[in-house]
């Protein structure tokens, strides 16, 4: 009986040890993950909020000629 109880404690310990190791490993990695993810997230937010400026690639300012070209291409 005592042997059984001791075995159970040992078995529970196996998983607990594994969990502790994994937790330690993740904790070590999380810092580097945070550092890597933060600039990307900030850049994405800035990109989303900033108003496009004339002259930037992809910004259309000459509406009449663009419309003409679109109509022409649709024909």
């Amino acid at each position: 009986m005592a042997k059984e109880a001791s075995r159970e404690a040992e078995e529970g310990g196996e998983f607990a040890d594994f969990l502790a190791d994994v937790s330690k490993e993740i904790a070590q990695r999380v810092e580097s993950l945070d550092k890597r993810a933060t600039p990307v997230a900030a850049a994405a937010a800035e990109k989303k909020l900033r108003t496009p400026i004339a002259g930037e690639p992809g910004v259309i300012v000459e509406w009449p000629s663009i419309a003409d070209r679109m109509i022409e291409e649709m024909r």
């Binding site: 529970g12 196996e14 998983f15 040890d17 937790s23 490993e25 993740i26 993950l33």
Partner: protein
């Protein structure tokens, strides 16, 4: 499969136990399952035939809870070892993050071990993964059998472990020996990739 999803703060690792038929892959998962505290015990899915052979695959989800702000889940799979289930092995390997190769230490199983390892490499390559860089550990199982029946560890290393990855040569999965050591080792290798440049993120 993404190892880490920063947006949802989730870490998911898929670990596949690979190896020839009857090498002890399912036994590894059964031991892990038996050691889980009740509150973490999910459902182990195991499809076996009447003769105890894995028909399709085994799947054991391990929910480790929130670690450093990340909901962490490990998914453990086995593949059917028999040669004719090649398509299933390919399917199970999809999105794999780490592999445990469970080799049968009996000397008469030498050819089966080699064939299975070659099969693993071919399937990883088909998946677009470099077999030389995928996180891998070797488990030389059944070391509890009579020494006369076993291949020496050095020989198994020479034949199977040309990458020089961590190996567990004192394994006897049926009694649980070496099972958690193996899992801990592959988990560390997989998690180490979280900060490596080649980490896949979503």
């Amino acid at each position: 499969m993404s190892v880490v999803n920063y947006g949802t703060r989730e870490i998911t690792c898929k670990i596949v136990y690979y190896g020839p038929g009857r090498s002890g892959k399912t036994t590894n998962l059964q031991h892990v399952f038996s050691q889980l505290p009740d509150e973490r015990k999910g459902k182990m899915v195991s499809l076996a035939t009447d003769t105890d052979r894995t028909l399709f695959f085994d799947f054991l989800p391990l929910d480790l809870g929130t670690i450093s702000g990340f909901a962490t889940r490990f998914q453990l799979y086995t593949v059917p070892g028999q040669v004719y289930y090649a398509a299933t092995r390919k399917l199970v390997l999809q999105g794999v993050d780490g592999v445990v190769f469970v080799a049968d230490s009996q000397s008469r199983q030498r050819a089966e071990n080699i064939e299975s390892l070659q099969d693993l490499h071919a399937n990883l390559a088909d998946e677009g993964l470099d077999p030389r860089s995928v996180p891998l550990v070797m488990q030389y199982n059944k070391r509890d059998l009579p020494p006369a029946e076993l291949s020496p560890v050095e020989e198994m290393d020479e034949v199977l472990n040309f990458r020089g990855v961590p190996h567990f040569s004192a394994a006897a999965a049926i009694g649980g020996k070496g099972v958690f050591e193996t899992l801990r080792s592959i988990s560390t290798l997989v998690l180490a990739r979280l900060s490596a440049p080649a980490t896949r993120e979503s």
